[in-house]
């Protein structure tokens, strides 16, 4: 059995198919779980924190509680200067009426950005070392996490996928979700949609809208409107994504609305034949923070980067990524950086 065969046999053990000698039902509750992790080495001009770093260790589980009720959970352990922190990244309980209608509640990755919902904390799945700056975890630019309820589905007659949600919005720390309740009287709303033509598998185009009121320290700061659009071609050897996001803040106290746009274009291409384990990639990203933004002032600055890298899948579930970045922070000079990252995914046996 080749490498793929070994891994798939392991995956098969997860997807425990009842043998003919067992009960002829799909067993519920049924759990499938994965561990993701990474280790990284970085060298960046002008910084003192270069060197090795243990990335997030992520445990992810899917549990079918019954034919229609499913639970998704994602826990992470992150290295901090003071030790390690444990976080519940996603926890979603969902009732699936049909393909058209799925109702859920919990903690999500906000569907306001394609990358934010396509790739999560396990870095093995994504092509590059890190997320685009605008979407990175811990950034204040968009609310990466969302606590609330969602209605999702796809319309069978049309290649349309939709999601509509209501939740707490940003927390008192605007980089964090409102995990323990809304910090103001206004709920956050998010709506997303994408079109995935059946005749063009791998292509999708879509967008999202997010509205909320941001309050810090009990003071209402601004009404937030986030809009985004993306176009994706992911098929065969090609992994191409372009996304544009605009965050607008209108001060509650009065004054003009300020817009801070960002975008990235990511392109990866897996080589063929004997080099099929190798995927070169590049990305350009740009984030332009309005200097008059009442929310972002002091928190975020302009950013631009050109990124070029190579992903080498040295095993079925492990990859080495080497990445060069030329980054520009605010009005400062361009800074060169080099990253090496080993990431992996481990299927963890589960069952009822």
């Amino acid at each position: 059995m080749n490498r793929s065969g070994t891994v798939l046999a392991l995956l098969a053990a997860l997807a425990t198919t009842p043998s003919s000698a067992q009960t002829p039902q799909v067993q519920t509750p049924f759990l499938q779980a994965f561990l993701f992790g990474d280790a990284q080495y970085s060298e960046q001009e002008g910084t003192v924190n270069d060197g090795f770093r243990l990335g997030q260790m992520v445990a992810h589980g899917n549990a079918s509680l019954s034919e229609r009720v499913v639970f998704f959970g994602e826990l992470s352990i992150s290295a901090r200067s003071s030790g390690y922190s444990l976080a519940m990244e996603r926890a979603i309980i969902r009732y699936e009426f049909s393909d058209r209608l799925k109702v859920s509640a919990g903690r999500y990755h906000t569907p306001v950005s394609h990358w934010n919902t396509e790739y999560h904390h396990g870095l093995w799945l994504q092509g590059s070392v890190a997320r685009p700056e605008a979407i990175k975890f811990g950034s204040s630019y968009i609310p990466v996490h969302f606590v609330g309820a969602m209605v999702e589905g796809n319309l069978q007659g049309l290649p349309l996928y939709y999601g509509v949600g209501v939740g707490n919005g940003r927390g008192d720390n605007i980089a964090a979700a409102g995990d323990v309740g809304d910090v103001n009287a206004r709920s956050a709303f998010v709506a997303s949609a994408s079109i995935r033509p059946r005749s063009l598998f791998g292509f999708r185009v879509g967008g999202a809208v997010y509205v909320d009121r941001i309050s810090v320290g009990g003071v209402d700061l601004a009404d937030e409107l986030i809009t985004s659009a993306h176009i994706v071609w992911k098929r065969g050897p090609v992994d191409a994504v372009a996304e544009f996001i605009n965050v607008a803040h209108e001060p509650v106290a009065g004054g003009p609305s300020e817009s801070s746009p960002a975008y990235y274009v990511h392109f990866g291409y897996r080589l063929s034949g004997d080099a099929s384990d190798v995927m070169p990639y590049m990305r350009y990203e740009d984030m332009d923070i309005s200097p008059g933004d009442v929310v972002f002032t002091g928190l975020l600055g302009d950013y631009a980067a050109f990124i070029a890298g190579v992903r080498y899948d040295f095993d079925d579930l492990a990859a080495l990524k080497l990445e060069y970045r030329s980054e520009e922070f605010g009005a400062g000079p361009r800074v060169d950086a080099f990253y090496a990252q080993a990431s992996f995914a481990i299927p963890v046996a589960g069952g009822s």
């Binding site: 059995m1 080749n2 793929s4 065969g5 798939l8 046999a9 995956l11 098969a12 997860l14 997807a15 425990t16 198919t17 009842p18 043998s19 003919s20 002829p24 039902q25 799909v26 049924f30 499938q32 994965f34 992810h60 899917n62 079918s64 034919e67 229609r68 996603r90 969902r94 699936e96 049909s98 393909d99 396509e118 999560h120 396990g122 799945l125 069978q156 995935r196 059946r198 598998f201 071609w233 098929r235 065969g236 050897p237 090609v238 191409a240 372009a242 544009f244 817009s259 746009p261 975008y263 274009v265 392109f267 099929s276 350009y284 740009d286 332009d288 309005s290 899948d313 079925d316 995914a345």
Partner: protein, 169 residues
């Protein structure tokens, strides 16, 4: 705002040209099998015919429920089976690595509650599809038994001209 958009459009155009140059060299998946496979469903599943596009949606996990509300259970042969290769080529349009990454990604994105369940022989596929409500699988035509419920694809059965899951078509 205007500056970043103009600057961005120029850079996006450069990337678009690059992508346009590279896309045509995408390799098409090989499909040189001499095998034909039949699509078999649980006997009580209320479907006799599926369009090829709908079949792709089902096997790709984009459609997870039958019209009667029963959840679809995918039974897929383990690697190296010839019929699996045909399905990967014609339905998934992926190789083994892409297939694995596709399902791990789907589970990690919470798009599906579970990936396909692997079976290790045509006998096992044929037996399980008759006992798991909502199950769907594929078996070589030569392994179809008289009690198997075979679904037409675009109105065609294995052996018919234009049947999409025959080697060489």
């Amino acid at each position: 705002m205007t500056t970043i958009v103009v600057r961005g459009v120029r850079r996006v155009c450069i990337f678009a040209v690059l992508i346009g140059v590279l896309l045509p060299v995408m390799s098409e998946p090989a499909s040189g099998q001499d095998i034909a496979v039949a699509i078999v469903v649980h006997p009580q599943t209320q479907v006799d015919n599926l369009s090829f596009e709908e079949l792709k949606r089902i096997f790709r996990g984009d459609r997870q429920f039958w019209e009667d509300g029963r959840r679809v259970t995918l039974l897929v042969r383990a690697p190296v089976a010839e019929e699996r290769q045909l399905i990967l080529d014609r339905i998934y349009e992926m190789d083994e690595n892409q297939f694995r990454e596709y399902w791990i990604g789907k589970m990690f994105r919470a798009e599906v509650a579970a990936g396909p369940k692997l079976v290790y022989s045509a006998d096992m596929a044929r037996e399980l599809v008759t006992v798991i409500p909502g199950a769907i699988t594929f078996v070589p035509v030569s392994e179809v038994s008289s009690d198997s419920k075979v679904v037409r694809i675009d109105g065609r059965l294995p052996g018919d001209v234009g049947y999409p899951l025959s080697g060489g078509t």
